[in-house]
């Protein structure tokens, strides 16, 4: 039998190691973003704290280099996609829960495969489609393209929320004279309000974080933040200030992520497909 105290120390040690492991990349990004540009080149960048913290990098990137615009693009793209996804997913999820017609099971399976398949498998199809529609470089293209992974996600999450609404409750409301649409609006939606908010935030998060489709669908004016960061990081011409600038772009991208995360962290796993285990 192991000594209780040794056990406690081991446990505390494990927790500390796990916390350092989790926070290290974020901490390093954050300090790199507030270092002076020259301090992120050569051997100076090893320093585990910013010796002369500055916000100049942010000012330069967001205003002089115009990254504020890409941030706004990201907001427009993720926000528009979230609105579109919720609008079509609520009725779809409701139908999947209540309909008894058997072929719909297959439709539900097909919905899900769109989320599980690698995004790269939709790279060429999506590019071909929007090139043919002459929509590349527009927000419409990204609003629609991001639906490939976000509609299945939203439908899946809303199915588990709507299944929890007792069918008897809806029937009672219909006997009282409400139509099916009235029932959805007055009974179902208020009951699943929290799930709706969580689903919306998670859909927004996935759209906000997405990179690949923007790579071919966005142009210089409409590109979202992740694509702008990728372009900057992969171009090699930015000189000594490069790391500080990349870091402050990444931190800017992370701020909304952390806000959303702190609201939905309990429900996060549902979005990865583990909620109903």
């Amino acid at each position: 039998m192991m000594n209780e105290n040794v056990k406690k120390v081991l446990k505390a040690l494990t927790i500390i190691i796990l916390l350092i492991w989790t926070l290290l990349p974020i901490y390093w990004m954050a300090i790199t973003s507030v270092k002076q540009g020259v301090e992120t080149a050569g051997e100076a960048q090893r320093l585990p704290y910013p010796p002369n913290p500055t916000l100049e990098n942010y000012q330069y990137i967001l205003f002089r280099r115009g990254y504020l615009k890409y941030l706004v693009n990201s907001l427009i793209i993720a926000g528009g996609n979230t609105a579109l996804v919720l609008l079509v997913s609520v009725p779809a999820a409701y139908a999947f829960v209540r309909a008894r017609w058997l072929p719909l099971r297959h439709l539900q399976f097909w919905f899900l495969t769109n989320r599980m398949a690698p995004a790269a498998a939709f790279f060429l199809p999506v590019f071909t489609l929007f090139a043919a529609l002459k929509l590349t470089g527009t927000y419409y293209a990204m609003w629609l393209a991001y639906c490939v992974f976000n509609i299945p996600l939203a439908v899946w999450m809303l199915i588990s929320a709507i299944s929890a609404v007792p069918a008897e409750l809806e029937e009672a409301a219909m006997i009282d004279g409400l139509t099916r649409l009235g029932v959805i609006r007055r009974v179902v939606l208020p009951l699943i309000r929290r799930s709706l908010v969580v689903t919306g935030l998670l859909v927004f998060l996935f759209a906000w974080n997405h990179y690949l489709f923007g790579l071919v669908l966005a142009d210089a004016i409409t590109k979202p933040m992740p694509v702008a960061i990728g372009d900057f990081a992969l171009a090699t011409s930015e000189g000594a200030y490069y790391k500080a600038y990349v870091a402050c772009q990444v931190v800017t991208l992370l701020i909304p992520v952390i806000i959303i995360y702190s609201i939905i962290r309990r429900d996060l796993l549902l979005g990865f497909g583990l909620g109903r285990v």
Binding site: T22, P25, W28, P125, V155, L205, I229, I258
Partner: protein, 293 residues
């Protein structure tokens, strides 16, 4: 045809289905036709080549390598992440002070954009000047680590990066199953003199089987689709060594403009994904049935 009442549901499904078909299904037809022709930005005329593109994808050693290295990476990721994730799950399913706060931080990587993760780890792993390469690998172990030196260095960098993102997923997928075990059950097993291994093997494992399978399958799907982190770290290099299938599909389009081969790769990848997906759902359904019994 469905009954009249049910027809309303079809209207409900229409918009979502229409959008998914437009984006996920309709463009597969031109992509299929790409595979039958030679379509490239460098060749002005497209001409019919039959199944030659599929034949090329299946026989070209480079493309075969892309598929092989993707599966190899998938196996490697599972071998590393599932045991570590399981250990951490065993660890945090027993209560300790500040567990709530710990979980808040521990789950965070799941929300971070993958390209940010790729860039953050690139900073940490920079040759000579990255804090991990300098303070830990060089300082403690005396290793001169360069993540772009060769295949193993590159694959290790990608492995560490994706492991950072996915261990919380594995762990939290398993924790609910572990928490559902009544503590009395484990206590009485201990009283009966069972070793920890036997408790794990005979009490925890049966309850974990189903969530574990689900976690493994979702991880397989994600590994097959690995793109963002690897794109930020190595872009498929050095050479062709970490050119996973997603990177190969994208590079064929954006840097080589070879739509035909990319299309054939796309279809093969989609086929693999759909078969795996079908497997997952079948297993999930079976698990559900088993639960009901």
């Amino acid at each position: 045809m469905p009954k009249k009442e049910e027809r309303l549901y079809l209207y409900f499904l229409l918009p979502a289905t229409a959008i998914l078909m437009l984006v996920g299904l309709v463009p597969l037809f031109p992509v299929i036709s790409y595979t039958l022709y030679e379509v490239s930005a460098y060749v002005p005329i497209t001409y019919y080549v039959g199944l030659r593109n599929f034949k090329m994808v299946l026989t070209d050693p480079n493309i075969q390598y892309s598929f092989a290295v993707t599966f190899f990476f998938t196996a490697l990721s599972l071998a590393v992440q599932i045991p570590i994730g399981l250990l951490i799950a065993l660890f945090i399913s027993s209560p300790f002070r500040g567990r709530e706060a710990f979980q808040v931080i521990f789950l965070l990587p799941l929300a971070i954009p993958p390209i940010a993760i790729g860039l953050a780890w690139q900073l940490l792993l920079l040759p000579e000047v990255g804090p991990i390469t300098y303070y830990i690998l060089h300082g403690i172990f005396g290793i001169d680590y360069r993540y772009m030196a060769d295949f193993w260095s590159a694959i290790m960098a990608i492995l560490v990066t994706t492991t950072w993102r996915w261990i919380p997923f594995v762990t939290l997928g398993l924790v609910p199953g572990l928490m559902a075990i009544p503590p009395d059950m484990i206590d009485s097993a201990k009283v009966d003199g069972a070793t920890y291994w036997r408790i794990f093997r005979h009490i925890m494992m049966p309850l974990l089987k189903f969530p574990l399978m689900l976690v493994v399958f979702i991880r397989i799907m994600d590994c097959i689709g690995i793109f963002d982190e690897a794109w930020m770290l190595t872009q498929g290099g050095p050479g062709w060594t970490t050119r996973f299938i997603s990177i190969e599909i994208v590079k064929k389009v954006i840097s080589e403009s070879n739509f035909s081969l990319s299309a054939a790769e796309t279809l093969i990848t989609l086929y693999i994904a759909i078969v795996l997906c079908w497997l997952i759902l079948t297993i999930m359904r079976r698990g559900k049935l088993a639960e009901v019994e």
